[in-house]
Amino acid sequence: MLMRRLFLGAITVWIVSVIIFAGVEVLPGDACTAFLEREAQGKLLENCREAQGLNRSAAERYFDWASGALRGDLGVSANGQKSISELVGNRLRNSLLLAVCALAVGVPTAIFLGVVTGLRRDKPVDLVFSTTAVFAMTIPEFVSATVLILVFSVWLGWLPGIVLTSAGAPVSEFFPEIVLPVIVLGMVMTAHILRMVRSSVIEVMVGDYVQMAILKGVPYWHIVFRHALPNALLPAINVVALTIAWLLGGVVVIEVVFNYPGLGRMMIDAISDRDLPVVQAIALIVATVYVGVNLTADLMTMVLNPRLRTHALRGS
């Protein structure tokens, strides 16, 4: 079962890599025409193609690229001639830092508030937080980001409004610049998870086994923690996983607004520079992260849900 899932995950990443490669391939022009721009003709172009290995067949180049990627070598960028793995490494770390901070703030808050609103359904506390969550979900991130910058940075001057730290700086230098982006991301994320947890808690709390626990004389908080929550939080795992994948995939808008040197902004820069090898590499990384995180979530659900666990062991 586990092997099967891993195998399917690997297949997915492989198919995605083919699609990315083919997508870039069918674009008019290649890395050299993009890099040389108007000088892309004659000897210069040929030399460049020679150096980049672009005169070989597409299949050969795909094989080179894919086997390089497997070894952690993503090739060199078209314009800076630098190793993409090095370039991306720092950016990935920065995106990871942003994601971890947002998760550390958002997930516990979301689960706590989701449980509270679910248990106090239709009471004032539920109405307040549920409505706020809807707002947090619907307001576009660049709006909330701008408002927060205006209030905390421009008016109050408590926090820096944009990130000036360079991509390769040590982690400690990102504080306190990272606080505002984390708040914006945390809000959206919390709202999504909160609503999921809330509806799940409500469903479980009116369920037969909770009623049975009440009629068995189990004290209220005991019912909540032992009987209801382990079941209610199972569906939340997948939402959290999706959120993690979304955060690691580079939250493009937020990174651009705050000038944050993460994967998302690197992607935008690479696209505008037509640096195709970098675009390819980032797309592949993001796809792998999505597959990996979802796989982990499915496995976690399987471990925590006895029903799925038995099925998995019987090897359906």
Binding site: Q211, M212, I214, L215, G217, V218, L304, P306, R307, T310
Partner: protein, 668 residues
């Protein structure tokens, strides 16, 4: 002796969308003495479960206590503090829920759930809890308690889950047990075993029981006193013998007459109409609209619950007339098969759920496990009804799915008329699809909730007959009329129909295709008895007018008896016996048929089930020999394990597959 449970003048209701308070329970008094066992009966919606839960001081979300009190040991449960309630519930007063599968917390092991009950309600020191859990599980006759402790609820069968729920209720050594339909949904054999267990436990511990059920057979077995509820009030109360043998309320009579009985060849009599919705009972008798004895007075004045001269307490102006009229109506005779050509032929059919593993596929080997269904050869005549019976897991529904083309057979053929049918629906032509229609157990699942009745009926009409416009409309209305629903139902959604009406729509959809063969998969199991009788009557009517061939699958032997010309008995996907209905239900039978028949509970206080075999759940059929070898009460010996039993025929058309000789089978 003062009452243990004393419910006085209780009314429970909810506030409807129109702002009106609608009563679900109306001024109910109910007292249960220590050690007494009282049955609560009525159709769904009669308020019987609400009443039982109210005895624990518990109301479902949305319900409110409007009046009255529910005392346990002289103190009103609704006036007690949360701590007191937590102490009493599951302690002195325990509940056994309807669906134990859903009432056990899925993420907790059985042992943990039982230990929790002990920790909350038992005086035992903690270090003895584990041993006590094992003892409790053994007490409810669960095999291998040490292994069960470590299991999760979903790893147990329905009967085992129910036993765990009973063990959990016993953990607190209760003075009173409330049982909310504890055996509904279980196999006949399991049900009979659970009821015997409950009887034994109640007698041994002197526990009082309140037994809620729509199954009068179960009530007859367990209770000494019966309370009949209708539209949130008590209409009849008396000893079990009085209520079941000579009921003085027209509703109770109707309810009894609607139950199919094993020894009765006539169809049960349907109780027409439906109970009023909560709050709509009006000023008069709530049953007036469905009553044969109704007079003007019944519609204006609400009768009071009063002791009747001929026994019991009854809420009816005409209790004596009702008592006299008892048993005068006789059900319609079912249409019998008069012979005719073969309609459906199953030849050496075998079906397997096990998928061959990749390696086996490559080597061209079949799956290693024996097939789920094997060696089924049955020929069904045109216009004949074949009943398929057996416990859950016997392969009844699997066979229907294969005939319908939803599941490809592993071997053998299905022939309809004179043409062999392609294995699956994808390969069948429209004519073959039209020819065979399937009706499912639960109309809630088989009708699309977003389609109106018109949408549902028009689909087969458009698909098979290309009807459109006015013709389509007229034909839908006509078909609806045939299942005794008016054309005004066309615009309704399934959620606006009662359970019985939904099942009629499902039947109408099947008949809209003009089928020759209709496969009925437990079509009445989800319905109230009164509604079940109406559905059986309808199927019989359609058989009369359309000459339809039926295969009727049910675990209820009395229902099968009422409708079938022939009956086939299945165990673990293998045929044990097949014959005319009267041959299978009487005279010499396969030991398994005897076990099934013995476990049937009749609504008669004098009838006791005979429990010949344990209600073990087998996961897979044995590889060799007789499929029933592990549970057979009349096992001969090694021959049963090694050799497939031979078919023996005591009479023309009757065949039994057993090693025991016919004389010996008869001698039992």
């Amino acid at each position: 002796m003062s009452a243990l449970i004393d419910i006085r003048d209780i009314s429970v209701g909810f506030v409807g969308r129109d702002g009106r308070t609608r009563e679900v329970l109306r001024n109910i008094d109910l007292a249960v003495a220590p050690g007494e066992c009282v049955g609560l009966v009525g159709e769904s919606g009669s308020g019987k479960s609400t009443l039982a839960l109210a005895a624990m001081g518990y109301l479902k979300r949305g319900l409110r206590l409007l009046n009255g009190s529910a005392a346990f040991n002289d103190t009103d449960m609704f006036a007690r503090s949360r701590q007191e309630l937590e102490r009493i519930r599951g302690g002195q007063l325990a509940l056994i829920p309807q669906n134990s599968g859903q009432s056990l917390t899925p993420t907790l092991r059985i042992g943990a759930q039982l230990r929790e009950a002990l920790r909350l309600h038992s005086a035992l020191p903690a270090d003895q809890h584990a041993a006590k859990v094992i003892e409790l599980l053994g007490h409810v006759r669960l095999p291998d308690p040490e292994a069960i402790v470590a299991r999760f609820p979903h790893e147990l069968s329905g009967g085992q889950q129910q036993r765990v729920a009973i063990a959990m209720a016993l953990a607190g050594e209760p003075e009173a047990l409330l049982l909310d339909e504890p055996t509904t949904g279980l196999d006949v054999t399991t049900q009979a075993h659970i009821l015997e267990l409950l009887r034994d436990i109640a007698a041994e511990r002197g526990m009082a029981m309140v037994y809620v059920s729509h199954n009068l057979g179960a009530i007859a077995r367990v209770c000494t006193r019966v309370v009949v509820m209708y539209a949130g009030e008590i209409v009849l109360e008396g000893t079990t013998r009085h209520v079941l043998k000579s009921p003085t309320h027209p509703y109770a009579q109707g309810l009894l007459a609607s139950i199919p009985k094993l020894d009765d060849t006539a169809l049960p009599i349907a109780l027409d109409g439906r109970p009023p919705a909560p709050g709509d009972a009006g000023a008069g008798c709530a049953f007036a609209d469905r009553c044969a004895l109704v007079q003007d007075r019944c519609r204006t004045t609400r009768p009071q619950l009063a002791p009747s001269e001929i026994g019991g307490t009854v809420r009816c102006f005409f209790a004596e007339e009702a008592g006299r009229q008892q048993g005068q109506t006789i059900g319609a005779a079912p249409v019998r098969y008069a012979g005719g050509g073969t309609m459906l032929d199953l030849d050496d059919l075998s079906i397997s759920y096990a998928k061959p593993r990749l390696l086996d596929q490559l080597l061209g080997r079949g799956a290693a496990v024996p097939p789920t269904v094997d060696d089924i050869s049955i020929s069904i005549g045109k216009g004949e009804t074949l009943g398929l019976v057996g416990e859950s897991g016997s392969g009844k529904s699997t066979i229907l799915k294969t005939i319908a083309g939803l599941l490809p057979p592993a071997g053998g053929t299905v022939t309809a008329g004179d043409r062999p049918l392609p294995r699956t629906v994808e390969h069948r032509d429209p004519g073959q699809l039209r020819q065979i229609q399937l009706i499912f157990q639960n109309p809630d699942d088989s009708l699309n909730p977003r389609h109106t009745v018109a949408d549902i009926l028009e689909q087969p009409l458009k698909l098979y007959f290309g009807l459109s416009g006015d013709k389509l409309r007229a034909r839908s209305a006509e078909i609806l009329e045939r299942v005794r629903l008016g054309a005004h139902y066309l615009g309704r959604l399934p959620s606006q129909l009662s359970g019985g009406e939904k099942q009629r729509v499902a039947i109408a959809r099947a008949f809209a295709a003009g089928p020759e063969i209709v496969l009925c998969d437990e079509v009445t199991s989800a319905l109230d008895v009164s509604v079940q009788a109406a559905v059986l009557d309808l199927l019989n009517d359609l058989k009369k007018t359309q000459g339809t061939t039926y295969i009727f699958v049910s675990h209820d032997l009395a229902v099968v008896r009422a409708l079938s010309d022939r009956v086939a008995v299945l165990y673990q996907g293998r045929l044990c016996e097949i014959g005319q209905t009267h041959q299978v239900f009487g005279g010499e039978s396969h030991p398994y048929t005897k076990v099934l028949l013995g476990a049937v509970l009749e609504p008669d206080p004098d009838a006791a089930p005979t429990l010949a075999a344990d209600d073990v759940v087998e996961r897979a059929p044995p590889e060799r020999g007789c499929p029933f070898q592990r549970r057979c009460p009349r096992r001969l010996g090694a021959i049963c394990d090694t050799d497939a039993p031979p078919w023996q025929s005591p009479e023309a058309g009757h065949a039994i597959r057993c090693h025991i000789s016919l004389e010996d089978l008869n001698a039992d």
